[in-house]
């Protein structure tokens, strides 16, 4: 009899405990899903911010789905097309996903605040012809730029090229260093169209014709492609990045840079926090201004935006969360802790402190901020163009084939033009 009584007591206590635990969940009437990728610590920071938001808004639960960047590029578009996507996601192809975006204006507390602080970047998230919608905000602004292993330069006894040094100056210098210290990668460039266009724009590539239509192959583009091609031939770049995989696959050289195998790595500001954490005291690294060419010293702007999607069933809750995250105080904390260049004009104007940044990271962020002032209008035009990813992917794929020795550069140029035309036509089929 005693055992029966204890069984009933245990069951009752268990039921009470379950109710107590489930109570708050049941009280939350709305659950939002946010898909998120991270380069550094931004996932941890966002988790903190979401906890605070949920503490202040008991009726809204937010599930943060942290995924690899590849899932954002490949899975998210399919999810959104099927109407089964998340309510909010952190994305880089803002123009490509603009047709799924939610215009949050009817639900935002103060749309004017958004226009004032995110205005120039909102165009990146809008479809062609749309000048008004507010689909999200920038979690970071990025600029491309090179990281240099200063210790390898010192070991080789080679002087660092100066601020206005050309690509040729850098190519010669890194090759000399690599030969002296036996580094396998004198110069590494992410296998990414976006990164390639930092070089192409600085070589004078215009990308668009007078009507604003893509005209990718011009003299500037050819100069840049020829440089990359020649650098591979001369052993300044290793085929392991651009030549070793097919199609549009992205390849970075983060691991190689961290392991002191790369003398100069052209990537971008988003890597700063990661290198500050992973390189530590292993060697001295610095960010340097973008090298110059016939078209100037421009880097490529870019960034990641947090976008809301129209398939959401809870637009009011989404807007409430976005209002919270985009507020100056919260977003300022986010940029500061993640070491990101602010994509909020008000915060950028006031300036931002990075108390957690190491001296190397702080110096790198200073260089990138200065680089942002040199971005050419063409670079902004490419970034804001809705089909820019089509151009980027065609370039990676075809240039990769030429570098691997499958085709000539001339053949690659023809294919790039054909791919861009065909894919834009396919996208426009309704």
């Amino acid at each position: 009899m005693r055992s029966v009584t204890s069984l009933i007591t245990t069951f009752a206590l268990g039921l009470a405990a379950t109710t107590a635990l489930a109570g708050p969940v049941l009280a939350q009437s709305v659950t939002l899903r946010m898909t998120w990728y991270s380069d550094g610590n931004e996932g941890e920071v966002m988790t903190d911010l979401l906890k605070r938001f949920q503490a202040e808004n008991k009726d809204i639960a937010v599930v943060l789905d942290q995924v690899p960047f590849k899932a954002i590029n490949e899975n998210l578009p399919v999810q959104l097309a099927s109407g089964q996507g998340p309510d909010i996601a952190r994305v880089t192809d803002m123009g490509g996903l603009a047709r799924y975006a939610l215009d949050m204006r009817p639900h935002l507390k103060d749309p004017a605040y958004w226009e004032a602080n995110f205005g120039p970047f909102l165009t990146w998230m809008r479809t062609a012809g749309d000048t008004k919608s507010i689909p999200g905000f920038m979690t970071q602004l990025t600029v491309t730029g090179p990281f240099v292993n200063k210790t390898l330069f010192e070991q080789a006894g080679v002087a660092l090229p100066g601020p206005k040094a050309t690509w040729d100056d850098w190519a010669k210098a890194v090759k000399t260093v690599a030969d002296k210290v036996q580094a396998p990668y004198p110069l590494a460039l992410d296998r990414s169209g976006h990164r390639f266009f930092a070089l192409a724009v600085s070589q004078g590539a215009k990308v668009f014709d007078e009507k604003g239509e893509p005209a990718v192959i011009d003299d500037g583009f050819k100069r840049a492609a020829q440089l990359v091609y020649d650098w591979h031939k001369a052993g300044i770049m290793s085929k392991e990045l651009w030549g070793s995989v097919s199609g549009t696959a992205y390849r970075g050289a983060n691991d190689e840079f961290k392991n002191a195998q790369v003398v100069m790595y052209l990537s971008g500001s988003w890597q700063t926090a990661q290198f500050a954490k992973t390189v530590g005291n292993a060697f001295d690294w610095i960010a340097v201004p973008n090298p110059c060419g016939a078209g100037g010293c421009s880097s490529m702007p870019g960034g990641a935006g947090l976008m809301a999607f129209k398939a959401t069933k809870h637009p009011e809750a989404v807007a409430k969360l976005m209002d919270y995250l985009a507020s100056e105080k919260v977003l300022g904390e986010f940029y500061s802790r993640t070491l990101f260049v602010p994509g909020h004009l008000g915060i950028a104007k006031k300036g931002i402190e990075y108390p957690g940044a190491s001296p190397e990271a702080a110096a790198a962020l200073k260089v990138f901020t200065a680089s942002a002032a040199e971005v050419a209008p063409t670079a902004y035009q490419i970034q804001g163009y809705g089909n820019s990813r089509i151009i980027f992917n065609a370039v990676i794929s075809r240039l990769g084939q030429a570098i691997a020795g499958e085709t000539s550069l001339d053949e690659a140029y023809k294919r790039i033009t054909a791919d861009v035309t065909q894919q834009i036509a396919e996208r426009n089929k309704q």
């Binding site: 030549g243 199609g247 696959a249 992917n393 794929s397 691997a404 053949e411 396919e426």
Partner: protein, 353 residues
Amino acid sequence: MSDGSSRPPGRPSAGTARVPASARWRDRAAGLAGLPVALALRLLDPLMAAVQRLIGAGRMPYVFLFPNFVFFGLFVFLPIGINLVFSVTGGPALFPSERPFVGAEQYAYLFDCGSYLDPSSCREDHFWRGVSNTAVFVLFQVGTMVLVSLLTALVLNRPIRGRGFFRAVYFFPVLLSPVVVALIWKWILQRDGLLNAAITSLGGQKILFFVDPSWAMFWAVFVSVWAHMGFYTLILLAGLQAIPSDLYEAAEMDRTPRWRILWRITLPLLWPNMIVVIVLSLIKGVQTFDEVFVLTGGGPGTATLMVVQYIYETAFANQVQNFGLAAAASVVLGLVLFALTLAQLAATRMKER
């Protein structure tokens, strides 16, 4: 009428065999466990009887096939149908109702070639590079696979010490996920991998295996054979063990040379199993994707880009997710696989005969 002839055939009489107690309990337990099923069947009896009266006893098998057919239709025929619809429509939309009809445009685009033997003369050159690479891969992979599996089976069929252990060792890679297999080999083969460490420790130069097209294809074939040969070895081993031993005894009594025994007895009698192995490895080879994709990424350039990787990238990895073109390529691949499957069925029938 109390003699054994009135009992069902095969059941022993009470006097001829004593059933052990454990078996009796097992039968009772089985009977109890089967009770709900028996009850359900009894409840279904009137319904089934009514159906039988309605359609006739001759059509009853179709009634029993129907539930399976529904699942098969849902998960096989419906996707095939959707794929066909996608292949005759265009645009980036996901729902067929939102996709404009383009007829055979996707197929025409795929097959627009100056010469099918020269991928660079084709508008969709990546597809034809995939076809060409897959053909080369299948040729070398199937040839090597059959040869290595046959040799391994012949060795493992002999009474060698530790035979069971070796059989397990050769079969073990079959149990691994293809992605795991590819990652293991990638770590071995990369610039700072185990193989290059061994080469440099012997005084050699590092080889960048994934930058050279010939090396990349070689390792794609090698890893595939390493991963799957255990399965085909088992099939051939089963075939070897089915060959009657008296044939070998007779040959030995006639002092027939070993190579002649192999040529005149073993290989002809193993041929049906060989056909199954060839056709199965052909089908698997044409479908190759995950291992090669993880190992080489389809590179260098497009040197190891296979058809299935092309389909995957066209549909999902490219920025304009071209479902229509990918679906058309899938249909073409499906037809090739269908032909190979028919060949496999024919081979299986030949084996049964």
